[in-house]
Symmetry: C2
Subunit: 366 residues, 2 copies
C-alpha cells in the first residue's frame, strides 16, 4: 500500500454530480461563519470560518518554539514567552478562505464545499515578524520565507507538513504578525494554538497555523500548497499562486429564516438591509445593493471600519410593500477599481470567486 | 404569499438522492467537532458542535431577563446580574445532537446532515433552576415547564420561537442549570449568549439557548419541537419525544489524514487507539474496539471522567505489522446494559441513531 492508493488527484465534479460524502465530511468538520453574526464588528470566538487541511495538532505552549533559519546570519529558536516579551500589537483583520463560494461553481471543484460563509474578522494579538527577521539577518540572496506548520497529512498523493511562502518584501511588511491571541484570549487549538502567522489582506492560506519554522531560501518556494492554491484552468497549467483577497460584499440575510431552506421571510414594511464588505487590495469605496436579482442597483451607505484590514459595514433602508419573491444581493468596489464581476472567470480550484451571494426573500401578504 | 409557500414538510431523500444545497447550507453554518479534538478532556471553545435552528440572536446581556411565569404563585423576572448573585455551579457536561449520524441513514432524513461529529464537552457555569422554580412556587397541577428561546423562524410551515419542555421532576433535578458561561468565559452568541438552559444527559435540543421564558403549564406541552424531536416511522405517527442520550463511543482517527477523503494513513508499528464514550442514561461501563470492521472486538481500557455527565476516555494499544486496509470502530455499553446495536432501528427524523463510526485506515508498506 502506498500513498497514491489513498490520496487521489484533484478533480471537478461531473455534470449533475451532487455533493459527495467526502465533501460533506469536510463541511461537517470545517465551518463558515453564520452570516447573521455580521451584526458583530468582531466575529465571536469560535464563529470565524475554519479550514483545517489535516488534523488540528495537540500542542504544548510551554515547550513550543518557532525556528527561524535557512539563509540567515543567526538562526533563532524562539519560545512563546520570548515572543510575548517583544513588542505586542493588536490588529483587527478580516480573513477569507480562497475557496469561498466554490460549491456553486459549474463545474464544481471537488474540495471543501463553501457557499459564502468562509469569512471572519477577529482582533489578533502578536508581535511583528520583520524585527525577528532583521535579528536573524537575511542573506542578500534570500527570495522567499517558507512558513511551515505542525499539521501533517497527505493531499493529492503528497505527504507534507502544511507550508506556504511569502516573498521578502511581503514578509517584511510591518503588519505581518506572529500571533498567539485572538479576541483577547489565547488562540483556540483550531485557529493555530499556540502560534500562527497572520498576513492581513491575503487569503487565509497564507496565515499558516501551528507555526513551527520560518526558513529563508534563495529560490521561489514551489511546495505543494503554492501549487494547490493557484489559479489555473487545467491540471497541467503552471498556475498563478493566490495572494490578496478580492473585494466582496455580503448581506446579513434579512427577516427570519425557514429552517431547512434558509430562505428568508419578511413582512411588508420598512427594513434595513445591512452587511459587510472587504478587499485585500485597497479600501472598499462603494457597495451597491439589488433587491431584484441584479436588474437595478442602489448605493449603500458605508460605515467606518475597525482599521485598514477589517471589513466595512454598509446599510440600505428598504421599504417593501408588495408581497412576493425578491433576490437580495450586494457587490463591493475598492479604491483600485476592483469589483465583483457579474460574469465570474472560472478556475479549477474554485478560488478568488466573488460571485454575488443571492439571498432569496419572500415578503408575506400583510 | 404565505408561510406554506416557503417552508415545506419534512421528507426523506429519494433512493440515490445525494446531499442537496439545502442540506449543504446547514452543514456550512452549523458544525461538528473535529474528532481529533477528543484528545482534550474539555472541547476547546468554538469547537463544540453547533446546531442553530433559525438565526443566532444579537443579544444585550445588560437588559436580558428571563421570565418565570404561568401557573406559579409569584411570577419572577430575573436579570443576568440577579442570576449571577445566586449559587454558582460549574459542571462538565457532554452534549450531543439528537440527529448525530443522520447523514448515513438509508433512506436519509433531509435535515442537518451530520456524520458523527455532533458532540462536545464543555465546562458550564450557571445556577440551578430548581430553587428559582421553588421561589416562584409551582401550582400543584403543573405538568410541564416550557422553555422558550429568542430564536425565531419558520420550520415545516410553523412560525415559532424555539421552545421545548421538561416534566416537573426532570426540571427540578439538581443538575439542571441556567448557564451564562462555558469554559471559563461568557457563552459565545452561537451557544446561547447571554443565557441558556442546560439539561445534562439529554440530547442538545432540550438545552434551550437564548432563554427568555420558563412557563409552568398544566397540560403536556405539544409545541412544534416536541413533535419534531421525536421517534416515528411515518409522518402521521404520534411519535415518542426524545430525551436522554443513547450510549456511543467514538474513535480519535489514528495516524494522519488524506485531505479530501479523510481516510487515515498509518505506518506499521505500535499505535494507541483512543477515544471517548458517553451515555445520558448511566455511566459507561465498557468500550469495545474492532480493527477488522466488526469481525472481532477487544475491550478497551477506561479512563476517568470529568464527572457523571462528562464523556469517558478509552484506550487500546494496537500493534499492526501487515500493510493493508483496516476498519476501526468502537462501541459503548452503559450500566443499564444499553449498547450500540449492530442493526440500528431506523426512524424518520434520523434521531438517536448510534450506528458505529467506521474509520477507514490504510497501513502503508514499511
Amino acid at each position: 500500500m502506498s500513498l497514491s492508493d489513498v490520496s487521489l488527484p484533484s478533480r471537478v465534479a461531473d455534470e449533475g454530480e451532487s455533493v459527495g460524502f467526502d465533501e460533506l465530511g469536510l463541511a461537517a468538520r470545517n465551518h463558515g461563519m453564520p452570516l447573521e453574526l455580521m451584526h458583530h464588528d468582531v466575529t465571536p470566538l469560535g464563529a470565524h470560518y475554519l479550514l483545517t487541511h489535516y488534523d488540528i495538532p495537540f500542542a504544548d505552549a510551554g515547550t513550543w518554539r518557532v525556528e527561524i533559519d535557512g539563509l540567515v546570519d543567526t538562526p533563532l529558536s524562539v519560545s512563546l514567552d520570548e515572543l510575548r516579551a517583544r513588542r505586542v500589537v493588536t490588529r483587527t483583520v478580516t480573513m477569507e478562505c480562497a475557496g469561498n463560494g466554490r460549491a456553486r461553481l459549474l463545474p464544481r471543484p471537488v474540495s471543501q464545499p463553501w457557499l459564502h460563509e468562509a469569512v471572519g474578522t477577529m482582533t489578533w494579538t502578536g508581535t511583528p515578524l520583520a524585527p525577528l527577521l532583521e535579528e536573524a539577518g537575511l542573506s542578500d540572496d534570500v527570495v522567499d520565507l517558507v512558513f511551515t506548520g505542525a499539521d501533517h497529512g497527505v493531499e493529492r498523493g503528497v505527504e507534507q507538513d502544511y507550508a506556504r511562502s511569502l516573498r521578502v518584501p511581503e514578509a517584511m511588511r510591518e503588519d505581518v504578525l506572529l500571533v498567539w491571541g485572538c479576541n483577547g484570549v489565547d488562540l483556540p487549538p483550531q485557529h493555530g494554538f499556540p502560534l500562527r502567522l497572520l498576513v492581513p489582506g491575503w487569503y487565509g492560506m497564507a496565515s499558516v497555523k501551528w507555526l513551527r519554522r520560518v526558513e529563508a531560501v534563495d529560490t521561489p518556494f514551489d511546495g505543494y500548497q503554492m501549487r494547490a492554491y493557484a489559479l489555473r484552468q487545467r491540471p497541467e497549467d503552471e498556475g498563478e499562486a493566490l495572494t490578496r483577497i478580492a473585494p466582496r460584499a455580503l448581506v446579513i440575510p434579512p427577516g427570519f429564516p425557514d429552517f431547512m431552506s434558509r430562505r428568508r421571510v419578511l413582512r411588508p414594511g420598512r427594513h434595513l438591509l445591512q452587511g459587510r464588505a472587504w478587499s485585500g487590495w485597497a479600501e472598499v469605496t462603494a457597495v451597491e445593493v439589488t433587491v431584484d436579482g441584479g436588474a437595478s442597483w442602489s448605493p449603500a451607505g458605508l460605515g467606518s471600519t475597525g482599521g485598514r484590514w477589517a471589513w466595512r459595514g454598509w446599510t440600505l433602508p428598504w421599504e417593501v410593500t408588495e408581497p412576493g419573491s425578491y433576490v437580495v444581493s450586494a457587490r463591493a468596489t475598492d479604491a483600485t477599481g476592483r469589483t465583483q464581476p457579474a460574469e465570474q472567470p472560472w478556475n479549477r480550484g474554485g478560488f478568488a470567486n466573488t460571485s454575488s451571494q443571492l439571498v432569496d426573500v419572500t415578503v408575506l401578504s400583510a
